[in-house]
């Protein structure tokens, strides 16, 4: 039997117990995996020494999916079987995705309830499954580099991702066999990558100009705690738009020729190249051979390029201004972190510098900074760092609301609220004897439900039969540290719990995910059983070990003899079950013991908060004065 040594939260494990953890930047165009080794974060290269994995998967053969550059090579021959920019489809409905799909010339399945599914030679695939293949490739890379199984991963998401998109990302990671320690917002990760070196305090702005989106976040670092004060952005503005501005200029100069989609894509690539050259040169030549029948070379000066992109860069400042306002800052920011390849453009840097009144930080490669920050957070969460290290307090980027009369959205949790957060809302029945109630959850800032994103419909059942308006159903909306939503409901007058059934608007249900996991041909049938048993044992042990050290520390103070006896008995029962082979028995007993020990765990947390806050000692006051 495997004996696990679970360190207490915050307690440093022994050096030989260093866990393998990774940070993953799952990008629209490129993905990266990084880790912390010997206290230093670095991006893990593939066998050819390249750090970047193009987020492209080809499904043309019967040899399984091909991921990365090799898939790009197959794109010309198998356009419909080579899926790129799948991130754009994560957690989205078919209606939202149709335009993107047409542009990319993917075939979408007509089956299913509004879910996006690509039709490929390997069958129907959801964006979650495609992303899982990219993540699996990164996991393999990391396991080879680190020499063993990965204990935990932090996966980044754009700050502007809504709940459905986050859930889809987490599902993809689970499907790829990764234990997700946390979903982390990309800008927050970038700040963390820099924050590690600066033990000082201050306000940091993260300016993230990605391929397709622009994100801005304002954070404050204080007493080792990173607080996200506000986040905002423009979901329809990115580096691709800079390329498009150049491409459009070429079209104008050449008399608006009618280009085939393939030719236009070539032109875009050419424009991107020119953009990149203009970061270091004063002019760039665009060779139009192969794009226009007559060919020709156009020269673009940096001055003209800057004129072309000026309005786009200015647009990002609007979001910056709003974000600063939301952060409620009297003074300006102390540091600016740049993320995304397009922040290499000198005009972007200059504009940002003049807006914030100081030079941005560019020490870390803007393409790698997110993965590096994620690796640092993974290292902290997996427990490789001593107590007193950085803590991240992030926010919910978009308001969560519910549909009310007349199709209006009523906000339950406003954007920029620190997570985790729990808010309750009371509902009542409209008819006599009504025993069920349907609630529509939306996300967004607009007043009308139709203008917000539909997240899910919740069905509340088992409401006791009463006259209309008498029932008082208290629905609790809880958003966890990953930005994921959980709902619970309770009828206040009778105290009866009402069950909540979640039907995600554009996501997979738990059953679908379980089904996919079981279907993944990675494990043979007997392996599956063994794996399930191992997982049940592991969570059983986790609970037992945690409880043992908790009882040792606080059992005498926080539990009376009776309570202690009951817990001890159930622990013994779980221990003997773990010796056996009955996975389901272990699972049930773990659940029983977990519930039973909840009150104890609550008292412990209560005590630790009280102790942490009990009277402010003098040396702390000195610390404060010294800051």
């Amino acid at each position: 039997m495997v004996l696990l040594n679970i360190a207490e939260p915050g307690q440093s494990p022994l050096p030989h117990q260093v866990k393998r953890s990774v940070g993953i930047d799952l990008g629209t165009t490129n993905s990266l995996v990084a880790t912390v080794q010997g206290g230093r974060p670095n991006v893990l290269p593939d066998s050819q020494g390249g750090c970047v994995l193009p987020s492209v998967v080809n499904y043309s053969g019967d040899h399984g999916p091909v991921v990365g550059s090799a898939a790009i090579d197959l794109a010309v021959r198998y356009p419909a079987d080579t899926l790129m920019s799948v991130k754009r489809f994560m957690g989205r409905g078919k209606a939202d995705a149709a335009a993107d799909a047409t542009r990319a010339r993917y075939r979408l399945s007509d089956s299913d309830q509004g879910l996006v599914r690509f039709l490929t030679s390997a069958g129907e695939l959801s964006p979650v499954e495609v992303s899982a293949d990219i993540l699996r490739s990164l996991r393999d890379r990391a396991e080879t580099a680190l020499g063993g199984d990965i204990d935990g991963a932090v996966v980044t998401v754009p700050a502007y991702f809504d709940e459905a998109q986050r859930q889809a990302t987490k599902d993809a990671a689970t499907l790829a066999g990764l234990k997700v320690l946390r979903l982390l917002n990309e800008p927050t990760a970038a700040a963390l990558a820099y924050g590690l070196d600066s033990s000082e305090q201050g306000v940091i702005a993260v300016y993230d100009l990605g391929g397709g989106t622009f994100d801005i976040s304002i954070l404050r670092l204080h007493q080792g705690v990173f607080e996200v004060l506000s986040t905002g952005g423009d979901a329809a503005l990115g580096g691709d738009d800079l390329d498009a501005a150049v491409a459009n200029w070429v079209l104008q100069k050449t008399g608006e020729p009618d280009l085939a989609p393939g030719e236009y894509r070539q032109l875009q690539a050419l424009a991107r190249e020119a953009k990149e050259q203009l970061s270091t040169q004063s002019s760039a030549d665009l060779d139009l051979a192969g794009i226009l029948p007559e060919g020709g070379v156009l020269s673009l000066s940096r001055n003209l390029f800057e004129e072309l992109i000026q309005p786009l860069i200015k647009r990002t400042l609007l979001a910056c201004r709003r974000c600063l306002r939301d952060a409620g800052l009297g003074a300006g920011v102390d540091n600016i972190v740049m993320v995304g390849g397009s922040t290499r453009v000198p005009l972007v840097r200059a504009t940002v510098a003049s807006f914030f009144g100081r030079e941005p930080l560019i020490d870390i490669d803007p393409d790698q900074v997110v993965a590096i920050g994620a690796a640092i957070q993974a290292d902290i969460l997996v427990g490789n760092r001593p107590q007193g290290d950085l803590l991240l307090l992030d926010v919910i980027p978009l308001s969560l609301g519910i549909e009310t009369m007349g199709g209006l959205a009523e906000k339950v949790i406003p954007r920029n609220t620190t997570i985790p957060v729990s808010r309750a809302q009371e509902f009542t029945t409209a008819r006599d004897g009504q025993t069920a109630l349907s609630v529509h959850i939306v996300q967004g800032e607009r007043e009308m439900v139709a203008d917000c994103r539909s997240l899910a419909h919740f069905e509340l059942r088992g409401i006791p039969s009463m006259v209309a308006g008498a029932a008082r159903i208290r629905v609790t909306f809880q958003v966890d540290a990953d930005g994921l939503l959980e709902v619970a409901a309770r009828e206040e007058i009778t105290g009866s719990e009402t069950s909540v059934t979640v039907k995600p608007s554009f996501g997979l249900t738990d059953e679908q995910i379980t089904g996919m996991l079981q279907a993944s041909f990675e494990y043979a049938e007997e392996d599956k059983v063994a794996r399930q048993l191992a997982e049940c044992r592991l969570s059983g042990w986790q609970l037992l070990e945690g409880l043992k050290s908790a009882l040792l520390a606080d059992g005498d103070v926080l539990l009376d003899a009776n309570e202690r006896q009951v817990i001890d008995a159930q622990m013994t029962a779980l221990e003997s079950l773990i010796e056996g082979e009955d996975a389901e028995g272990i699972r049930v007993q773990t659940e029983i013991l977990g519930r039973l020990s909840e009150a104890f765990a609550t008292r412990r947390m209560d005590k630790s908060v009280r102790e942490a806050l009990a009277g402010v000692s003098l040396d702390e006051l000195d610390d404060e004065a010294a800051e």
Binding site: I419, P420, R595
Partner: protein
């Protein structure tokens, strides 16, 4: 999803005196300390039950912090602790003099778009509302300390009026910025 059996109020939670005046620097410091103990990140390797508890506890601390940080929610919370329900507070109606001023301010705000220099006007209006708010806060602090809860509730309603107006003015400013 049972809530933590947490009996103490938000002031006791942060070990701060129960009064309308709250040392914001100290509150922030205690908030961060408390989050260090309870945030789910500290329990990333713990059992599922402990993780769930950490989410609930950490959410409670966030709620307590937000409530005590903002003057209006702090005032409402103090009244609630004193046994005055939200319904009681909602029943309070500000005097007609106050309402008249509110209507004027609101009209000013609504006609802002047609003014020659809306941004400047808006800034003045924001400052004006801010001053009124500070005055009301001082009134409330006094009334609460003197145990005049019913009067305090009326002041609290006025603060809510101003808060709402402030929010609308800020939204207006945001939309002006975006033009």
């Amino acid at each position: 999803m049972s809530l933590p059996e947490f009996q103490r109020n938000y002031f006791e939670l942060f070990d701060l005196p129960k009064s309308f005046a709250v040392d914001q620097v100290e509150l922030g410091r205690r908030y961060r300390k408390a989050q260090r103990e309870t945030h789910p990140d500290r329990f990333a390797r713990a059992s599922a039950h402990e993780q769930r508890l950490a989410v609930q506890y950490s959410a409670l601390i966030n709620e307590a912090y937000v409530t005590l940080r903002q003057p209006v929610s702090r005032a409402l919370y103090l009244l609630e602790l004193a046994g005055i329900s939200r319904e009681d507070i909602d029943r309070q109606h500000p005097d007609s003099g106050f309402l008249m001023i509110q209507i004027e301010l609101r009209e000013k705000l609504e006609s802002m778009q047609e003014q020659p220099e809306p941004a400047l006007m808006l800034e003045q209006l924001l400052a004006e509302i801010g001053e009124d708010m500070i005055e009301l806060q001082a009134e409330f602090a006094q009334q609460y300390a003197a145990g005049e809860l019913a009067v305090g509730a009326a002041t609290c309603v006025k603060m809510q009026y101003l808060d709402k107006l402030l929010l609308e003015a800020e939204q207006m400013e945001a939309s002006l910025l975006e033009k």
